[in-house]
């Protein structure tokens, strides 16, 4: 059975195709070369004039695990309220509702899959899986239909690692432990959140700067970053260390962020939701944009990649592993409630609802800072489109964000409605850049798959997995990206005119670098002595993810 997608305009940056009109052939879920003339084409889609891209990949979105579920449980009123409001939504936000539709910042697992695929996204990655909570994250992602998924395991606040650093264990021992964690938690990358800080909070330290020592372990965040970025690099996994810097959300934190860029000594490192880490202290309100300095540093340091974590105005909820900073920020929660947890000498979490308002000086400037970064970082291969779902805004607002990037007059109209003091502190209107379709395809497809290390995703070349999205080229980019004409998952038509026509289940992407299994000897003793579960139960087997045949594990190699 061969499917032919005929005459589409291809935006495929992995192959330098910028609007080239070409045919695509699909066979057994993959893109194949043009078959012989006598081969039977069983189905043809005429895509004349349509925009064709690979399925989009969200490289940072909180879609599963403890934090998100706490947010859901804590905020039943969101879901109830949104149920009422959905009737008033206008195009292009409106979409065809499924029976499970929720339309709010913490959709159910089922809704998460549906909302992503309806926008042409075919994969999303949970960036903050605490290893001890990984089973829950996989259970939730296992109940997320339509898309591929995967996650990054959080290290750098776990007692076992910090203890190794204090003991000055050699890099090989660290590498083995990091590799073991990737295997045990079925993840594809390593993340560090507020390096050392989450642990320090448990010892009653309230802030931790990059070169300040954790009072118990006597190691600094910089040492954590050095060790983990080197481990990730030496293990040869594609995804660079995913870093949520110290001092999240604090005025003046841009200096920490600039210094953090040097912490990996030139090795690849990804700074996540960098908007939340780009704040200066200028002006009457002692809160200003440092987007220019941050963007300049990214442009200069070619080993650094970043995603933005754009905020958009509305009610949302922030869910972070950063219990230290979330505890500090709990006073800004709206409505006023927060869940903070210390977790198993391994991690932490902080969940608090937040309402971003365009007439609030700080919120308005946060909005501008995110866009300033997008427009000032020159290389679209090194900057990624995220809202840090749900922390800056729900992922369902991506089409709106894409329009802000692609349409200068739309952006400037929105800017003109902001808090006036914030307007006077931003140079956004002087930035004339408009993202092209090709740029968008880099950020959301080719760049993301390259960053994470999925060789057969994010492009339209022969051999690629046939995850393909087809749009009608519209001047209103929000309308265009909100509702693709067709989405193919593994070569099957699953979305037509923005609505799901077939329910499918995606794979779980992992990386499993080789390591010395001897690492388990000490780990087993550690678990038996200090932890409250056994080592064997910490590890997640492939069979758990297969889940009676619905799920599958993809091991990505580089």
């Amino acid at each position: 059975m061969i499917t032919l997608l005929k005459n589409g305009k291809l935006y495929d940056p992995a192959h330098n195709k910028n609007g080239v009109v070409e045919d695509i052939y699909i066979h057994q879920g993959r893109i194949v070369p043009k078959p012989l003339d006598n081969a039977k084409i069983s189905q043809t889609y005429d895509l004349s004039g349509k925009v064709v891209m690979a399925g989009a990949i969200d490289m940072h979105s909180h879609i599963g695990g403890g934090k998100v579920n706490i947010a859901r449980m804590m905020l039943p009123e969101y879901q109830q309220k949104q149920m009422q409001e959905i009737k008033n939504l206008s195009e292009p936000e409106a979409h065809i509702c499924t029976p499970y539709c929720s339309h709010h910042a913490t959709p159910t697992a089922t809704d998460t899959g549906f909302r992503y695929i309806e926008m042409g996204y075919t994969a999303a990655f949970e960036p903050a899986i605490s290893p001890i909570n990984a089973r829950q994250a996989h259970l939730e992602m296992g109940d997320t239909p339509m898309i591929d998924k995967g996650g990054y395991a959080m290290l750098g606040n776990d007692d076992y690692f910090l203890r190794m650093l204090t003991a000055k264990k050699d890099q090989k021992a660290i590498n083995d432990y990091v590799a073991w964690i990737l295997h045990a938690t079925q993840t594809i990358g390593i993340k560090v959140v507020n390096p050392g800080g989450i642990s320090a909070f448990k010892f009653n330290q309230r802030r931790l700067n990059l070169d300040e020592n954790h009072q118990h372990y006597q190691v600094s965040p910089r040492e954590v970053l050095q060790s983990l970025s080197r481990a990730v690099h030496e293990l040869g996994i594609a995804k660079p260390l995913h870093v949520h810097c110290n001092n999240l959300g604090a005025a003046g934190n841009f200096e920490t962020t600039l210094n953090t860029m040097t912490a990996s000594n030139g090795l690849p490192m990804h700074l996540t939701h960098i908007q939340f880490h780009s704040y200066g202290t200028e002006g009457d309100k002692k809160f200003s944009s440092a987007a220019a300095q941050i963007a300049e540093a990214i442009n200069k340091n070619k080993n650094i990649t970043a995603d933005v974590g754009q905020i958009l105005f509305n009610q949302t909820v922030t869910a972070s592993g950063d219990s230290m900073m979330q505890h500090l920020n709990a006073k800004h929660a709206n409505p006023k409630k927060s869940v903070i947890m210390d977790i198993e000498c391994d991690a932490g979490c902080g969940v608090l609802p937040f309402k971003y308002r365009d007439q609030n000086y700080v919120n308005a400037l946060q909005w501008a800072i995110g866009l300033e970064i997008f427009l000032s970082v020159e290389d679209p291969w090194r900057i990624f489109l995220t809202t840090d779902h749900p922390n800056g805004a729900p992922f369902t607002s991506y089409p709106h964000l894409i329009r802000l990037l692609m349409d200068k007059s739309f952006r400037n109209e929105a800017f003109a409605k902001l808090n006036l003091d914030a307007q006077s502190m931003s140079n956004l209107t002087s930035l004339d850049r408009e993202y092209s379709l090709y740029d968008i395809a880099i950020m959301t497809r080719a760049g993301a798959s390259k960053l994470i290390g999925m060789n057969d995703r994010g492009h339209l070349g022969v051999g690629a997995n046939a995850d393909i999205t087809v749009y009608t080229d519209q001047e209103n980019r929000e309308a265009m990206f909100a509702k693709p004409d067709y989405v193919f998952k593994n070569g099957e038509l699953v979305v037509k005119d923005g609505a799901v026509v077939k329910v499918v289940w995606g794979a779980t992407h992992t990386a499993k670098p080789a390591f010395d299994i001897g690492v388990e000897k000490e780990l087993k003793e550690y678990f038996d002595r200090y932890q409250t579960i056994g080592l064997d139960n910490f590890k997640i087997s492939d069979a758990e993810i297969f889940d009676d045949g619905r799920g599958s594990v993809v091991v990505n190699k580089n």
Binding site: V68, Q79, E344
Partner: protein, 423 residues
């Protein structure tokens, strides 16, 4: 019942008898039962599972023994006729709950767990202002003071002290924590007696006085003066001393059990406990630890939340989830509903008294106070089949293991077959 022990018996097994989910039990023999690292609750659970003399291993319809297919069809017929069935009990783990959620969506059912009268008090508190909590390994390695309010902990969670308090192995060189009971009756206050014979200190012994005492602790913590000699039967000086202890602790853990609070509006007292924890964290570290009630309550609420957006008590109307943790209680809905599906797979807990058409799915030895319209015996999770279960602190999910082979279907299989009949 046949006890064909699984020939590839796992080295260690996970015990679902309480929320601690100890996974270091080693089953060496079933007759007589021999388990290493067992506690009173786990022995009862496994004894009952392996040795109950139940004749209920076959399904029945109106009390007459029948085959599974007939029973599944009869159950589906009841649900098909019902406008809004009540699915209650919900004594199950994650996999069972996943199936039940699909059935509930397909049948416009309402969902309530048998222990939600207690767990709703915690959920209400969390939804009102949030909380700051901790997990078992943090308690073991970090706690230097444990304040247990209204619960001796040991009765409901028997190995708490052995594993988390008296075990001298801890990561940060801390002393064995002091244990203080607040509002725990004297006869129960022995749970926390250490192996060396050290008794827990007790502040008050009348559970009914807990609300007043916790409020007084909050007042004293923010330096308010109390113009009384005693509060809730306890000298203010004693309460002041407790406050000083809490403030001096590096990591105080305040434990409560919503099910042990027998006074009305217990959620307000839980809020007050949370406030105490929050205030302590202004200067030092402290955390709360709510004990769960069991029968898979954490698993059911977590699974329900990621699949519907809501914990129990919730329902589906035309496939859309709705939530009301007051009106959707089993007691209220037995009056409004037109059919009951009762599920209890961990314990042989009987369905509530009702004249509604009733389907019971549970352990073979489940108590049947009244002959249900349909009864389907199923395997016990963690004994007859594998599963996934949330620990009391919700951060940890552990695999349950299959310990023996028998012909009983598991809950998911039965629920999926009923759902297929409805389609």
């Amino acid at each position: 019942m046949k006890n064909n022990l699984n020939p590839t018996l796992p080295a260690s097994i996970t015990c679902p008898a309480c929320g601690m989910l100890c996974d270091d039990l080693v089953l060496t023999s079933t007759t007589p039962l021999s388990i290493q690292n067992a506690c009173a609750k786990s022995i009862t659970f496994f004894e009952q599972s392996f040795h109950s003399n139940s004749s209920n291993t076959a399904p029945s319809v109106s009390g007459k023994t029948t085959d599974l297919e007939t029973a599944v069809k009869a159950a589906a017929a009841i649900l098909a006729q019902s406008k809004a069935p009540l699915i209650a009990g919900l004594g199950t783990e994650v996999q069972g709950m996943r199936s039940i959620m699909r059935l509930a969506a397909a049948s416009n059912a309402m969902l309530d767990h048998m222990h939600s009268e207690s767990s709703v008090r915690n959920t209400l508190t969390m939804q009102n202002g949030g909380w700051l909590t901790t997990t078992l390994s943090e308690v073991k390695n970090r706690a230097d003071l444990i304040l247990a309010i209204g619960t001796d902990i040991g009765t409901s969670h028997p190995r708490f002290f052995e594993k988390l308090v008296w075990d001298s192995a801890s990561l940060f060189n801390k002393p064995s924590p002091e244990v203080v009971y607040l509002g725990v009756s004297a006869d129960k206050a022995k749970s926390a007696t250490s192996p060396e014979g050290k008794l827990a200190s007790a502040v008050g012994d009348d559970p009914a006085q807990i609300p007043e005492i916790v409020n007084a602790l909050n007042a004293l913590l923010i330096n308010k003066k109390i113009n009384a000699e005693t509060v809730g039967g306890v000298a203010v000086a004693t309460l002041q001393a407790l406050v000083e202890k809490l403030k001096a602790a590096k990591y105080a853990v305040i434990v409560w059990s919503a099910s042990s609070f027998k006074f009305s509006h217990a959620e307000l007292t839980i809020q007050s406990i949370v406030q105490l924890v929050n205030q302590l964290n202004e200067t030092t570290r402290a955390a709360g630890l709510p004990l769960n009630s069991g029968d898979g309550d954490s698993s059911v609420n977590n699974t329900s939340t990621w699949l519907s957006g809501y914990p129990t008590r919730n329902r589906f109307v035309n496939g859309k989830p709705e939530y009301d943790n007051y009106h959707f209680s089993t007691q209220k809905q037995l009056q409004n509903s037109d059919a009951l599906l009762w599920v209890s797979t961990f314990n042989p807990t009987s369905a509530p008294q009702t004249a509604l058409p009733t389907i019971v799915i549970g352990r073979p030895d489940i108590k049947l106070d009244r002959t249900p319209d349909v009864f389907i015996p199923v395997g016990i999770p963690g004994v007859d089949h594998a599963g996934s279960m949330f620990r009391m602190d919700s951060s940890i999910t552990l695999p349950l293991k299959k310990l023996r082979n028998n012909e009983l279907p598991n809950l998911s299989e039965v629920i999926n077959r009923i759902e297929a009949e409805l389609a």
